[in-house]
Symmetry: C2
């Protein structure tokens, strides 16, 4: 299929979004080289970050395809762009944790690296001006960010299923999937699709042997070698997916 | 029944707890005159606060008795004490909101006083050193503060039922029940009982006509006339319950 980029729609923290000529059911994503953390209080970038993340995201969407996980990816374009099915994003960050790290470890004073007995799913309300607060199911329904408890249950079930597939994939790539954030959207046919991206921006990935961080925590915590880590994740995924 | 106070067990922010001579299944609560707010960062007291709150709590436990709500109250003793059935407190503050105010209004940038379409139940993990964080059901289960999702569902159902009875009671007393916090405990026979207290320390109560605050927010926000407000709540309850 040939796609042609049309007018600019929206610029997010890590992507620019455009419409697609002659196809209102699709949008065009351009992955930027920008990195942000702590609700965009910390900003940075590195060369070709958008290229690396577009490639990682595409590999993962295509990997999930074999398990019939419904997702928005349609086609890669050039080095740092992709065409996806247009969805109405459900304004919840769906976080799955296998190992405690980050905000939840801090909130409950658990040592970073504590293995959970079973994966924990959390919802955060996507609202920059509120700092993306953690919400319960009942709060999400009160805020009308999800249509029903059934929809929330579906998001949790999809997130836990995707977690199983991703654990297997990253394990083969000698990476421990500590936690990750998903976003979902509702397509024109009302189907719920995995949207946004799965990349080192949205996952915590630790080397299986050394526990070395290979994700955005290198940026958040000023650990250096950010580009090398993102590139390393891409290379490891390529080596196990081909 | 005659009860005799035995040794001191524990001092909380608003109560002292003692054992009961010859009855290990009961404990003796003494209501203090102390007031605390913001995780005990703000401290105060007023004369006979413990007397007023003991009386309000007892009136409410006895009011709920007629609806077969299981609770821990057994008997009043003297002016500021009561004997209750001993329970293992479930370390969750169960908050019911009819109108948005306080932390949740702030979290979502809702105007204080926004009426909710239906009551919202929230859980906060009772842990002073963590600042009593808000938790989802899944986090409460991860922390093992509740035994099962069924137990959490039971707490929510009991809280919503109690809310209906309390709305009626306070409405007769010309008070709007904005929100309140409950604690539950598990008795020796495994039954879940309403525990702790229901008083102006644990409720937001606004005068039905003027919206004047008649609860601990007068202390939190330095509005003055704290004693008069607590005493007013007691007098209004007495006038509708006799």
């Amino acid at each position: 299929m040939n796609f042609e980029k049309s007018e600019f729609l929206y610029e997010g923290k890590a992507k620019r979004i455009f419409s697609v000529v002659g196809d209102s059911g699709k949008v065009w994503l351009e992955f930027k080289d920008d990195l942000t953390a702590f609700n965009a209080e910390k900003k940075g970038s590195f060369k070709d970050k958008g290229v690396i993340n577009r490639n990682i995201a595409s590999l993962i969407f295509n990997y999930l395809q074999q398990f019939q996980v419904p997702h928005h990816w349609v086609a890669d374009i050039g080095e740092r762009e992709m065409v996806v099915n247009k969805v109405n994003i459900i304004p919840l960050e769906v976080v799955v944790r296998n190992v405690l790290a980050g905000s939840t470890a801090k909130k409950f004073a658990f040592e970073e690296g504590t293995l959970l007995e079973k994966p924990l799913v959390e919802f955060f309300y996507k609202k920059d001006e509120l700092g993306d607060p953690f919400v319960s199911d009942d709060q999400a329904l009160m805020l009308k960010v999800a249509s029903s408890q059934q929809q929330l249950n579906q998001l949790k079930a999809m997130a836990l299923e995707i977690n199983q597939y991703l654990i297997q994939l990253f394990d083969k790539a000698s990476l421990k999937l500590v936690d990750f954030k998903l976003e979902f959207g509702v397509a024109a046919d009302k189907k719920v699709l995995l949207a946004d991206e799965i990349t080192p921006d949205s996952c915590r990935l630790w080397d299986k042997e050394t526990n070395e961080k290979m994700d955005k925590d290198r940026f958040r915590r000023g650990l250096g070698n950010i580009r090398e880590s993102y590139q390393g994740v891409l290379e490891r995924l390529r080596s196990v997916l081909n």
